[in-house]
Amino acid sequence: MTSLPLARRRRGRQVLRNTVVGWSFLLPNFVGFAVLTLVPVGLLFYYAFTSWNVFGGAEWTGLENFRQMLHDASFRTALRNTVYYTVFHIPLTLGAALALALLLNQRLRGVAFFRTVAFFPYITSIVALAQVWNMLFSPGYGPINAVLRGIGIDNPPGWTTSADWSMPAVIVVGTWREMGYYMLLFLAGLQTIPGQLYEAAKVDGANAWQRFRAVTLPGLRPTTFFVVVLLTIGSFKVFDVILVMTNGGPGQSTLVLSQYIYQKGFVENQFGYASAVSIALFAICFVITIVQFVINRRGTD
Protein backbone atom coordinates (compact mmCIF):
# COMPACT_ATOMS: atom_id res chain seq x y z
CA MET A 1 0.00 0.00 0.00
CA THR A 2 2.74 2.44 0.88
CA SER A 3 4.57 1.88 -2.37
CA LEU A 4 1.72 3.32 -4.46
CA PRO A 5 1.87 6.98 -3.33
CA LEU A 6 5.64 6.75 -3.42
CA ALA A 7 5.59 5.58 -7.01
CA ARG A 8 3.13 8.32 -7.86
CA ARG A 9 5.30 10.93 -6.22
CA ARG A 10 8.30 9.66 -8.12
CA ARG A 11 6.31 9.82 -11.34
CA GLY A 12 5.24 13.35 -10.49
CA ARG A 13 8.83 14.38 -9.96
CA GLN A 14 9.76 12.83 -13.29
CA VAL A 15 7.03 14.81 -15.10
CA LEU A 16 8.16 18.02 -13.42
CA ARG A 17 11.77 17.35 -14.32
CA ASN A 18 10.82 16.63 -17.94
CA THR A 19 8.75 19.80 -18.11
CA VAL A 20 11.65 21.91 -16.87
CA VAL A 21 14.10 20.24 -19.24
CA GLY A 22 11.66 20.42 -22.16
CA TRP A 23 11.00 24.12 -21.66
CA SER A 24 14.69 24.85 -21.29
CA PHE A 25 15.15 23.45 -24.81
CA LEU A 26 12.27 25.46 -26.23
CA LEU A 27 12.99 28.74 -24.49
CA PRO A 28 15.71 30.31 -26.65
CA ASN A 29 13.54 29.93 -29.73
CA PHE A 30 10.20 30.35 -28.04
CA VAL A 31 10.98 33.72 -26.44
CA GLY A 32 11.96 35.17 -29.80
CA PHE A 33 9.05 33.49 -31.54
CA ALA A 34 6.46 34.60 -28.97
CA VAL A 35 7.60 38.22 -28.75
CA LEU A 36 8.30 38.76 -32.43
CA THR A 37 5.55 36.69 -34.07
CA LEU A 38 2.79 35.63 -31.68
CA VAL A 39 2.43 39.06 -30.06
CA PRO A 40 2.13 40.90 -33.40
CA VAL A 41 -0.47 38.38 -34.61
CA GLY A 42 -2.46 39.06 -31.43
CA LEU A 43 -2.02 42.85 -31.67
CA LEU A 44 -3.35 42.78 -35.21
CA PHE A 45 -6.81 42.00 -33.87
CA TYR A 46 -6.65 45.07 -31.62
CA TYR A 47 -5.19 47.55 -34.10
CA ALA A 48 -7.80 46.68 -36.70
CA PHE A 49 -10.45 48.30 -34.49
CA THR A 50 -8.52 51.49 -33.92
CA SER A 51 -7.72 54.61 -35.81
CA TRP A 52 -4.01 55.16 -35.69
CA ASN A 53 -1.35 57.15 -37.43
CA VAL A 54 2.29 57.59 -36.42
CA PHE A 55 1.68 60.89 -34.61
CA GLY A 56 -1.26 59.98 -32.39
CA GLY A 57 -1.83 56.80 -30.42
CA ALA A 58 -4.37 54.11 -31.13
CA GLU A 59 -7.95 55.27 -30.70
CA TRP A 60 -10.75 52.71 -30.48
CA THR A 61 -13.17 53.16 -33.38
CA GLY A 62 -14.98 49.82 -33.38
CA LEU A 63 -15.99 48.58 -36.80
CA GLU A 64 -15.30 51.91 -38.52
CA ASN A 65 -12.28 50.52 -40.46
CA PHE A 66 -14.30 47.64 -41.80
CA ARG A 67 -17.16 49.96 -42.79
CA GLN A 68 -14.65 52.12 -44.64
CA MET A 69 -13.30 49.01 -46.39
CA LEU A 70 -16.74 48.21 -47.83
CA HIS A 71 -16.84 51.56 -49.59
CA ASP A 72 -13.20 51.64 -50.59
CA ALA A 73 -12.90 51.33 -54.37
CA SER A 74 -9.13 50.74 -54.16
CA PHE A 75 -9.66 47.86 -51.75
CA ARG A 76 -12.13 46.30 -54.16
CA THR A 77 -9.66 46.72 -57.02
CA ALA A 78 -6.92 45.12 -54.95
CA LEU A 79 -9.19 42.22 -54.04
CA ARG A 80 -10.27 41.74 -57.66
CA ASN A 81 -6.67 41.80 -58.89
CA THR A 82 -5.62 39.32 -56.21
CA VAL A 83 -8.38 36.94 -57.30
CA TYR A 84 -7.33 37.48 -60.94
CA TYR A 85 -3.76 36.53 -60.09
CA THR A 86 -4.88 33.53 -58.03
CA VAL A 87 -7.30 32.12 -60.59
CA PHE A 88 -4.57 31.95 -63.24
CA HIS A 89 -1.51 31.36 -61.12
CA ILE A 90 -2.80 28.21 -59.37
CA PRO A 91 -3.75 26.09 -62.42
CA LEU A 92 -0.80 27.29 -64.50
CA THR A 93 1.75 26.55 -61.79
CA LEU A 94 0.08 23.27 -60.88
CA GLY A 95 0.07 22.13 -64.51
CA ALA A 96 3.63 23.23 -65.23
CA ALA A 97 4.97 21.70 -62.01
CA LEU A 98 3.21 18.38 -62.61
CA ALA A 99 4.33 18.24 -66.24
CA LEU A 100 7.93 18.97 -65.23
CA ALA A 101 7.81 16.35 -62.49
CA LEU A 102 6.45 13.67 -64.86
CA LEU A 103 9.06 14.58 -67.45
CA LEU A 104 11.95 14.54 -64.96
CA ASN A 105 10.74 11.26 -63.48
CA GLN A 106 11.55 9.51 -66.78
CA ARG A 107 14.78 7.66 -67.35
CA LEU A 108 16.39 10.21 -69.59
CA ARG A 109 19.98 11.38 -69.70
CA GLY A 110 20.69 14.60 -67.80
CA VAL A 111 17.51 14.49 -65.74
CA ALA A 112 19.35 15.18 -62.47
CA PHE A 113 20.89 18.28 -63.99
CA PHE A 114 17.49 19.53 -65.16
CA ARG A 115 15.99 19.10 -61.70
CA THR A 116 18.64 21.47 -60.43
CA VAL A 117 18.01 23.91 -63.26
CA ALA A 118 14.24 23.93 -62.74
CA PHE A 119 14.65 24.75 -59.08
CA PHE A 120 17.11 27.58 -59.56
CA PRO A 121 14.63 30.43 -60.28
CA TYR A 122 12.98 29.76 -56.96
CA ILE A 123 16.09 30.54 -54.94
CA THR A 124 17.14 33.52 -57.03
CA SER A 125 16.36 36.92 -55.57
CA ILE A 126 13.23 38.52 -56.93
CA VAL A 127 14.86 41.93 -57.39
CA ALA A 128 17.33 40.61 -59.97
CA LEU A 129 14.70 38.45 -61.65
CA ALA A 130 12.23 41.33 -61.91
CA GLN A 131 14.82 43.46 -63.69
CA VAL A 132 15.59 40.74 -66.21
CA TRP A 133 11.94 40.00 -66.90
CA ASN A 134 11.07 43.67 -67.24
CA MET A 135 13.76 43.91 -69.88
CA LEU A 136 12.61 40.73 -71.60
CA PHE A 137 9.07 42.12 -71.61
CA SER A 138 10.15 45.55 -72.88
CA PRO A 139 7.50 46.39 -75.52
CA GLY A 140 9.65 48.06 -78.18
CA TYR A 141 12.97 46.22 -78.14
CA GLY A 142 12.56 43.29 -75.75
CA PRO A 143 13.30 39.78 -77.01
CA ILE A 144 9.84 38.45 -76.13
CA ASN A 145 8.09 40.87 -78.43
CA ALA A 146 10.83 40.40 -81.02
CA VAL A 147 9.97 36.69 -81.07
CA LEU A 148 6.24 37.45 -81.21
CA ARG A 149 6.79 39.77 -84.18
CA GLY A 150 8.93 37.08 -85.76
CA ILE A 151 6.04 34.60 -85.69
CA GLY A 152 3.73 37.12 -87.32
CA ILE A 153 2.08 39.03 -84.47
CA ASP A 154 2.25 42.61 -85.66
CA ASN A 155 1.04 44.31 -82.51
CA PRO A 156 2.50 42.38 -79.57
CA PRO A 157 1.25 43.37 -76.11
CA GLY A 158 2.78 46.20 -74.10
CA TRP A 159 3.21 43.87 -71.09
CA THR A 160 4.21 45.78 -67.94
CA THR A 161 3.52 49.12 -69.58
CA SER A 162 -0.06 48.25 -70.44
CA ALA A 163 -2.92 48.10 -67.97
CA ASP A 164 -4.41 45.06 -69.72
CA TRP A 165 -1.22 43.03 -70.02
CA SER A 166 0.66 43.85 -66.83
CA MET A 167 -1.16 41.19 -64.81
CA PRO A 168 -0.52 38.41 -67.36
CA ALA A 169 3.16 39.42 -67.35
CA VAL A 170 3.31 39.15 -63.56
CA ILE A 171 1.50 35.79 -63.66
CA VAL A 172 4.02 34.45 -66.18
CA VAL A 173 6.92 35.45 -63.94
CA GLY A 174 5.23 34.09 -60.81
CA THR A 175 4.57 30.75 -62.51
CA TRP A 176 8.03 30.56 -64.03
CA ARG A 177 9.62 31.24 -60.68
CA GLU A 178 7.63 28.82 -58.54
CA MET A 179 7.03 25.80 -60.79
CA GLY A 180 10.41 24.25 -59.95
CA TYR A 181 9.62 24.31 -56.27
CA TYR A 182 6.27 22.57 -56.62
CA MET A 183 7.86 20.19 -59.09
CA LEU A 184 10.07 18.97 -56.25
CA LEU A 185 7.01 18.23 -54.14
CA PHE A 186 5.41 16.32 -57.03
CA LEU A 187 8.62 14.37 -57.65
CA ALA A 188 8.69 13.35 -53.99
CA GLY A 189 5.02 12.34 -54.32
CA LEU A 190 5.71 10.24 -57.43
CA GLN A 191 8.23 8.16 -55.47
CA THR A 192 5.49 7.08 -53.06
CA ILE A 193 3.42 5.37 -55.82
CA PRO A 194 4.25 1.64 -55.78
CA GLY A 195 5.65 0.30 -59.06
CA GLN A 196 3.42 -2.79 -58.85
CA LEU A 197 0.38 -0.62 -59.55
CA TYR A 198 1.85 0.31 -62.92
CA GLU A 199 2.69 -3.32 -63.63
CA ALA A 200 -0.85 -4.40 -62.80
CA ALA A 201 -2.29 -1.68 -65.02
CA LYS A 202 -0.04 -2.78 -67.85
CA VAL A 203 -1.07 -6.40 -67.47
CA ASP A 204 -4.65 -5.19 -67.74
CA GLY A 205 -3.73 -3.56 -71.03
CA ALA A 206 -3.89 0.10 -69.95
CA ASN A 207 -2.07 2.51 -72.24
CA ALA A 208 0.13 5.37 -70.99
CA TRP A 209 -2.73 7.85 -70.71
CA GLN A 210 -4.97 5.35 -68.90
CA ARG A 211 -2.15 4.51 -66.48
CA PHE A 212 -1.70 8.21 -65.80
CA ARG A 213 -5.42 8.65 -65.12
CA ALA A 214 -5.89 5.48 -63.07
CA VAL A 215 -2.61 5.20 -61.18
CA THR A 216 -0.57 8.40 -61.20
CA LEU A 217 -3.30 10.95 -60.52
CA PRO A 218 -4.95 9.08 -57.60
CA GLY A 219 -1.50 8.29 -56.19
CA LEU A 220 -0.57 11.97 -56.27
CA ARG A 221 -3.78 13.05 -54.56
CA PRO A 222 -2.27 13.91 -51.16
CA THR A 223 0.59 15.79 -52.82
CA THR A 224 -1.78 17.66 -55.11
CA PHE A 225 -3.92 18.69 -52.18
CA PHE A 226 -0.91 19.98 -50.29
CA VAL A 227 0.37 21.84 -53.33
CA VAL A 228 -3.03 23.46 -53.94
CA VAL A 229 -3.21 24.66 -50.32
CA LEU A 230 0.29 26.14 -50.50
CA LEU A 231 -0.39 27.68 -53.90
CA THR A 232 -3.64 29.26 -52.73
CA ILE A 233 -2.10 30.92 -49.71
CA GLY A 234 0.94 31.84 -51.80
CA SER A 235 -1.23 33.45 -54.48
CA PHE A 236 -3.37 35.45 -52.09
CA LYS A 237 -0.35 36.89 -50.34
CA VAL A 238 1.53 37.59 -53.60
CA PHE A 239 3.64 40.65 -52.96
CA ASP A 240 7.34 41.05 -53.71
CA VAL A 241 7.18 40.01 -57.36
CA ILE A 242 4.54 42.68 -58.00
CA LEU A 243 6.19 45.32 -55.86
CA VAL A 244 9.46 45.09 -57.78
CA MET A 245 8.07 44.39 -61.25
CA THR A 246 5.19 46.84 -61.59
CA ASN A 247 4.74 48.49 -58.18
CA GLY A 248 1.02 47.89 -58.67
CA GLY A 249 0.79 49.75 -61.95
CA PRO A 250 0.21 50.95 -64.51
CA GLY A 251 -2.55 52.74 -62.64
CA GLN A 252 -3.94 50.16 -60.27
CA SER A 253 -3.86 47.32 -62.77
CA THR A 254 -1.65 45.05 -60.63
CA LEU A 255 -2.48 46.41 -57.18
CA VAL A 256 -2.94 43.37 -54.88
CA LEU A 257 -4.04 43.04 -51.25
CA SER A 258 -0.58 42.67 -49.69
CA GLN A 259 0.61 45.70 -51.53
CA TYR A 260 -2.43 47.70 -50.51
CA ILE A 261 -1.65 46.86 -46.87
CA TYR A 262 1.91 48.02 -47.44
CA GLN A 263 0.77 51.22 -49.09
CA LYS A 264 -1.79 52.13 -46.42
CA GLY A 265 0.55 51.22 -43.57
CA PHE A 266 4.04 52.21 -44.58
CA VAL A 267 3.40 54.90 -47.18
CA GLU A 268 0.27 56.61 -45.80
CA ASN A 269 0.86 55.68 -42.14
CA GLN A 270 -2.75 54.57 -41.60
CA PHE A 271 -1.84 51.67 -39.35
CA GLY A 272 -5.37 51.03 -38.09
CA TYR A 273 -6.92 50.79 -41.52
CA ALA A 274 -3.98 48.75 -42.85
CA SER A 275 -4.51 46.30 -39.98
CA ALA A 276 -8.16 45.92 -40.94
CA VAL A 277 -7.17 45.08 -44.52
CA SER A 278 -4.62 42.65 -43.06
CA ILE A 279 -7.42 40.89 -41.22
CA ALA A 280 -9.34 40.61 -44.48
CA LEU A 281 -6.30 38.94 -46.09
CA PHE A 282 -5.81 36.68 -43.09
CA ALA A 283 -9.51 35.71 -43.04
CA ILE A 284 -9.53 34.87 -46.77
CA CYS A 285 -6.48 32.60 -46.45
CA PHE A 286 -7.90 30.99 -43.31
CA VAL A 287 -11.37 30.29 -44.73
CA ILE A 288 -10.03 28.93 -48.02
CA THR A 289 -7.64 26.59 -46.23
CA ILE A 290 -10.42 25.28 -43.99
CA VAL A 291 -12.72 24.75 -46.98
CA GLN A 292 -9.98 22.89 -48.83
CA PHE A 293 -9.37 20.63 -45.84
CA VAL A 294 -13.07 19.86 -45.53
CA ILE A 295 -13.39 19.07 -49.25
CA ASN A 296 -10.29 16.91 -49.10
CA ARG A 297 -11.58 14.95 -46.12
CA ARG A 298 -14.95 14.42 -47.76
CA GLY A 299 -13.20 13.24 -50.92
CA THR A 300 -11.07 10.64 -49.14
CA ASP A 301 -13.90 9.20 -47.03
Binding site: F33, Y47, N105, S125, V127, L184
Partner: protein, 293 residues
Protein backbone atom coordinates in the same frame (compact mmCIF):
# COMPACT_ATOMS: atom_id res chain seq x y z
CA UNK B 1 19.17 14.24 -54.94
CA UNK B 2 19.43 10.64 -53.74
CA UNK B 3 15.88 10.83 -52.47
CA UNK B 4 14.44 11.48 -55.89
CA UNK B 5 16.69 9.22 -57.86
CA UNK B 6 14.54 6.07 -57.73
CA UNK B 7 12.83 5.79 -61.10
CA UNK B 8 9.36 4.34 -61.20
CA UNK B 9 9.64 3.20 -64.79
CA UNK B 10 12.38 0.60 -64.14
CA UNK B 11 10.39 -2.54 -63.49
CA UNK B 12 7.69 -2.11 -66.04
CA UNK B 13 10.17 -1.87 -68.88
CA UNK B 14 11.56 -5.26 -67.89
CA UNK B 15 8.09 -6.72 -67.63
CA UNK B 16 6.83 -5.78 -71.03
CA UNK B 17 9.35 -4.19 -73.38
CA UNK B 18 7.49 -2.13 -75.99
CA UNK B 19 8.65 -2.26 -79.63
CA UNK B 20 12.03 -0.56 -79.97
CA UNK B 21 10.85 1.97 -82.54
CA UNK B 22 8.07 3.49 -80.47
CA UNK B 23 10.31 3.52 -77.39
CA UNK B 24 12.89 5.51 -79.26
CA UNK B 25 10.12 7.83 -80.41
CA UNK B 26 9.06 8.42 -76.83
CA UNK B 27 12.63 9.11 -75.77
CA UNK B 28 13.10 11.63 -78.55
CA UNK B 29 9.87 13.31 -77.55
CA UNK B 30 11.09 13.35 -73.93
CA UNK B 31 14.39 14.98 -74.89
CA UNK B 32 12.59 17.55 -77.02
CA UNK B 33 10.33 18.44 -74.10
CA UNK B 34 13.35 18.60 -71.80
CA UNK B 35 15.09 20.95 -74.18
CA UNK B 36 12.12 23.30 -74.42
CA UNK B 37 11.65 23.33 -70.64
CA UNK B 38 15.33 24.00 -70.00
CA UNK B 39 15.33 26.84 -72.52
CA UNK B 40 12.26 28.41 -70.93
CA UNK B 41 13.87 28.25 -67.52
CA UNK B 42 17.37 29.31 -68.50
CA UNK B 43 16.86 32.03 -71.12
CA UNK B 44 16.28 34.80 -68.54
CA UNK B 45 19.53 33.89 -66.77
CA UNK B 46 21.36 33.75 -70.08
CA UNK B 47 19.99 37.16 -71.01
CA UNK B 48 21.08 38.54 -67.63
CA UNK B 49 24.62 37.29 -68.03
CA UNK B 50 25.01 38.35 -71.67
CA UNK B 51 23.55 41.80 -71.11
CA UNK B 52 25.92 42.34 -68.20
CA UNK B 53 28.79 41.95 -70.67
CA UNK B 54 27.45 44.31 -73.32
CA UNK B 55 27.89 48.01 -73.82
CA UNK B 56 24.73 49.82 -72.86
CA UNK B 57 23.69 50.52 -76.46
CA UNK B 58 23.93 46.85 -77.39
CA UNK B 59 21.47 45.58 -74.77
CA UNK B 60 18.40 46.40 -76.84
CA UNK B 61 18.92 45.78 -80.51
CA UNK B 62 16.82 44.65 -83.44
CA UNK B 63 17.36 41.84 -84.17
CA UNK B 64 18.16 40.58 -80.68
CA UNK B 65 21.90 40.15 -80.17
CA UNK B 66 22.40 36.86 -78.29
CA UNK B 67 26.15 37.20 -77.81
CA UNK B 68 27.91 40.35 -76.59
CA UNK B 69 30.09 41.93 -79.23
CA UNK B 70 32.40 43.41 -78.06
CA UNK B 71 32.55 41.85 -74.60
CA UNK B 72 32.58 44.68 -72.05
CA UNK B 73 34.30 43.38 -68.91
CA UNK B 74 34.57 46.97 -67.72
CA UNK B 75 30.97 46.82 -66.41
CA UNK B 76 32.21 44.61 -63.61
CA UNK B 77 34.69 47.32 -62.60
CA UNK B 78 32.37 50.28 -63.02
CA UNK B 79 29.60 48.89 -60.84
CA UNK B 80 31.81 49.02 -57.74
CA UNK B 81 32.51 52.69 -58.34
CA UNK B 82 28.97 53.72 -59.17
CA UNK B 83 27.35 51.98 -56.22
CA UNK B 84 27.98 51.08 -52.57
CA UNK B 85 28.19 47.42 -53.49
CA UNK B 86 30.85 46.75 -50.84
CA UNK B 87 28.64 48.10 -48.03
CA UNK B 88 25.60 46.23 -49.30
CA UNK B 89 27.45 42.93 -49.56
CA UNK B 90 29.02 43.40 -46.14
CA UNK B 91 25.65 44.08 -44.47
CA UNK B 92 23.98 41.20 -46.26
CA UNK B 93 26.78 38.85 -45.25
CA UNK B 94 26.60 39.91 -41.59
CA UNK B 95 22.85 39.44 -41.54
CA UNK B 96 22.89 36.11 -43.35
CA UNK B 97 25.50 34.63 -41.02
CA UNK B 98 23.89 35.95 -37.81
CA UNK B 99 20.38 34.90 -38.77
CA UNK B 100 21.49 31.47 -39.95
CA UNK B 101 23.49 30.82 -36.79
CA UNK B 102 20.59 31.81 -34.52
CA UNK B 103 17.98 29.96 -36.55
CA UNK B 104 19.98 26.75 -36.71
CA UNK B 105 20.96 26.84 -33.06
CA UNK B 106 17.63 27.82 -31.47
CA UNK B 107 15.66 25.82 -34.04
CA UNK B 108 17.48 22.54 -33.51
CA UNK B 109 17.55 23.08 -29.74
CA UNK B 110 13.79 23.64 -29.57
CA UNK B 111 13.16 20.80 -32.00
CA UNK B 112 14.87 18.43 -29.58
CA UNK B 113 12.48 19.54 -26.84
CA UNK B 114 9.52 18.98 -29.14
CA UNK B 115 10.69 15.65 -30.54
CA UNK B 116 12.40 13.87 -27.67
CA UNK B 117 11.28 15.29 -24.31
CA UNK B 118 7.79 14.34 -23.15
CA UNK B 119 6.00 16.98 -21.09
CA UNK B 120 2.44 18.27 -20.73
CA UNK B 121 1.36 21.00 -23.17
CA UNK B 122 4.02 20.09 -25.70
CA UNK B 123 1.66 19.25 -28.55
CA UNK B 124 -0.50 22.33 -28.09
CA UNK B 125 2.58 24.50 -28.20
CA UNK B 126 3.81 22.80 -31.34
CA UNK B 127 0.45 23.42 -32.95
CA UNK B 128 0.89 27.15 -32.28
CA UNK B 129 4.23 26.98 -34.09
CA UNK B 130 2.77 25.19 -37.08
CA UNK B 131 -0.27 27.46 -37.09
CA UNK B 132 1.83 30.56 -37.67
CA UNK B 133 3.47 28.93 -40.69
CA UNK B 134 0.06 29.17 -42.34
CA UNK B 135 -0.49 32.83 -41.39
CA UNK B 136 0.81 35.08 -44.17
CA UNK B 137 3.54 37.38 -42.91
CA UNK B 138 1.94 40.17 -44.95
CA UNK B 139 -1.06 40.08 -42.63
CA UNK B 140 0.90 40.86 -39.47
CA UNK B 141 3.77 42.95 -40.81
CA UNK B 142 2.00 46.14 -39.65
CA UNK B 143 1.65 45.29 -35.93
CA UNK B 144 5.12 43.74 -36.07
CA UNK B 145 6.51 47.01 -37.40
CA UNK B 146 4.83 48.99 -34.62
CA UNK B 147 6.19 46.57 -32.03
CA UNK B 148 9.72 46.70 -33.48
CA UNK B 149 9.58 50.50 -33.51
CA UNK B 150 8.62 50.53 -29.83
CA UNK B 151 11.50 48.17 -29.10
CA UNK B 152 13.77 50.64 -30.97
CA UNK B 153 14.75 47.91 -33.39
CA UNK B 154 13.73 49.62 -36.61
CA UNK B 155 16.52 51.08 -38.72
CA UNK B 156 19.08 48.78 -37.13
CA UNK B 157 20.43 45.49 -38.43
CA UNK B 158 18.93 43.89 -35.32
CA UNK B 159 15.46 44.31 -36.80
CA UNK B 160 16.24 41.87 -39.62
CA UNK B 161 17.88 39.42 -37.22
CA UNK B 162 14.80 39.55 -34.99
CA UNK B 163 12.53 39.18 -38.02
CA UNK B 164 14.21 36.09 -39.47
CA UNK B 165 16.04 34.24 -36.73
CA UNK B 166 13.23 32.73 -34.66
CA UNK B 167 10.96 31.43 -37.39
CA UNK B 168 8.92 28.28 -36.87
CA UNK B 169 10.35 26.77 -40.03
CA UNK B 170 13.66 25.67 -38.50
CA UNK B 171 11.91 24.03 -35.56
CA UNK B 172 9.59 22.20 -37.95
CA UNK B 173 12.34 20.93 -40.24
CA UNK B 174 14.57 19.73 -37.40
CA UNK B 175 11.71 18.10 -35.52
CA UNK B 176 10.79 16.07 -38.61
CA UNK B 177 14.35 14.81 -38.78
CA UNK B 178 14.80 14.10 -35.07
CA UNK B 179 11.67 11.99 -35.03
CA UNK B 180 13.30 9.61 -37.49
CA UNK B 181 16.06 8.91 -34.94
CA UNK B 182 14.99 5.95 -32.75
CA UNK B 183 14.23 6.61 -29.08
CA UNK B 184 16.08 3.46 -28.04
CA UNK B 185 19.35 5.13 -28.90
CA UNK B 186 18.60 8.00 -26.52
CA UNK B 187 17.31 5.67 -23.79
CA UNK B 188 20.59 3.79 -23.88
CA UNK B 189 22.45 7.06 -23.38
CA UNK B 190 20.07 8.07 -20.56
CA UNK B 191 20.74 4.78 -18.74
CA UNK B 192 24.44 5.52 -19.06
CA UNK B 193 23.71 8.73 -17.17
CA UNK B 194 23.99 11.23 -19.99
CA UNK B 195 21.92 14.39 -19.49
CA UNK B 196 19.41 15.57 -22.12
CA UNK B 197 21.76 18.40 -23.07
CA UNK B 198 24.57 15.91 -23.49
CA UNK B 199 22.38 13.74 -25.69
CA UNK B 200 21.46 16.75 -27.82
CA UNK B 201 25.08 17.80 -28.25
CA UNK B 202 26.84 14.46 -28.52
CA UNK B 203 24.23 12.28 -30.24
CA UNK B 204 21.57 14.36 -31.97
CA UNK B 205 23.74 17.09 -33.49
CA UNK B 206 26.24 14.68 -35.08
CA UNK B 207 23.41 12.48 -36.38
CA UNK B 208 21.46 15.35 -37.89
CA UNK B 209 24.20 16.91 -39.99
CA UNK B 210 22.23 16.53 -43.26
CA UNK B 211 19.18 18.26 -41.78
CA UNK B 212 21.37 20.96 -40.23
CA UNK B 213 22.96 21.51 -43.64
CA UNK B 214 19.53 21.82 -45.28
CA UNK B 215 18.38 24.34 -42.70
CA UNK B 216 21.63 26.30 -42.89
CA UNK B 217 21.51 26.63 -46.67
CA UNK B 218 17.79 27.43 -46.87
CA UNK B 219 18.07 30.09 -44.15
CA UNK B 220 21.18 31.57 -45.72
CA UNK B 221 19.49 31.91 -49.10
CA UNK B 222 16.23 33.27 -47.65
CA UNK B 223 18.06 35.95 -45.68
CA UNK B 224 20.28 36.87 -48.60
CA UNK B 225 17.27 37.23 -50.90
CA UNK B 226 14.94 38.98 -48.47
CA UNK B 227 13.68 42.21 -49.96
CA UNK B 228 10.60 43.10 -47.91
CA UNK B 229 12.23 43.03 -44.46
CA UNK B 230 15.07 45.39 -45.35
CA UNK B 231 12.67 47.57 -47.38
CA UNK B 232 10.48 48.16 -44.34
CA UNK B 233 13.11 48.35 -41.63
CA UNK B 234 16.40 49.60 -43.04
CA UNK B 235 16.11 53.30 -43.90
CA UNK B 236 19.74 54.46 -43.48
CA UNK B 237 21.90 54.04 -46.57
CA UNK B 238 24.77 52.49 -44.65
CA UNK B 239 22.54 49.65 -43.45
CA UNK B 240 21.23 48.65 -46.87
CA UNK B 241 21.45 45.06 -48.03
CA UNK B 242 22.23 43.93 -51.56
CA UNK B 243 18.55 43.62 -52.51
CA UNK B 244 17.60 47.12 -51.36
CA UNK B 245 20.79 48.54 -52.80
CA UNK B 246 20.24 46.90 -56.16
CA UNK B 247 16.63 48.09 -56.33
CA UNK B 248 17.67 51.66 -55.53
CA UNK B 249 20.44 51.44 -58.10
CA UNK B 250 17.86 50.37 -60.68
CA UNK B 251 15.69 53.36 -59.81
CA UNK B 252 18.61 55.79 -59.97
CA UNK B 253 20.30 54.55 -63.15
CA UNK B 254 17.19 53.28 -64.89
CA UNK B 255 18.67 53.61 -68.39
CA UNK B 256 21.99 51.91 -67.58
CA UNK B 257 20.67 48.52 -68.66
CA UNK B 258 24.01 46.77 -68.89
CA UNK B 259 25.14 47.94 -65.45
CA UNK B 260 21.80 46.94 -63.91
CA UNK B 261 22.34 43.44 -65.26
CA UNK B 262 25.90 43.47 -63.95
CA UNK B 263 24.59 44.27 -60.48
CA UNK B 264 21.93 41.57 -60.82
CA UNK B 265 24.52 38.96 -61.76
CA UNK B 266 26.67 39.92 -58.78
CA UNK B 267 23.68 39.71 -56.43
CA UNK B 268 22.76 36.23 -57.71
CA UNK B 269 26.29 34.82 -57.99
CA UNK B 270 26.87 33.93 -54.29
CA UNK B 271 23.51 32.14 -54.17
CA UNK B 272 24.25 30.27 -57.38
CA UNK B 273 27.57 29.04 -55.95
CA UNK B 274 26.01 27.97 -52.65
CA UNK B 275 23.20 26.25 -54.50
CA UNK B 276 25.50 24.33 -56.84
CA UNK B 277 27.68 23.17 -53.96
CA UNK B 278 24.84 22.09 -51.71
CA UNK B 279 21.93 21.40 -54.04
CA UNK B 280 21.09 18.01 -52.57
CA UNK B 281 20.53 19.59 -49.16
CA UNK B 282 18.12 22.11 -50.66
CA UNK B 283 16.18 19.35 -52.33
CA UNK B 284 16.09 17.12 -49.26
CA UNK B 285 15.13 19.98 -46.96
CA UNK B 286 12.16 20.85 -49.14
CA UNK B 287 11.11 17.30 -49.93
CA UNK B 288 11.04 16.43 -46.22
CA UNK B 289 9.00 19.42 -45.06
CA UNK B 290 7.22 20.63 -48.17
CA UNK B 291 8.00 24.14 -47.04
CA UNK B 292 10.65 26.72 -47.06
CA UNK B 293 11.47 29.56 -44.68
Amino acid sequence: MTLLEVPVADTRLALDPPPARSRRGYRLLGYAALLVAAAAILVPFYWMLMSSLKSNNDVYTIPVQWLPDPVVWKNYVDIWQKSDLTTWLKNTLILSVAVTFLQVFTGSFAAYGFAKVRFPGRNVLFLAYIGTLAVPWQSYMIPQFILFSKLHLSDTLWSIIALQAFGAFGVFLMKQYYESIPDELLDAARIDGMSEYGIYRRIMLPLSVPALASLTLLTLVTTWNDYMGPLIYLRSRDLWTIQIGLKTFVNTYNAEYALIMTGSVLSVLPIAIIFLLGQRYFVEGIASTGLKG
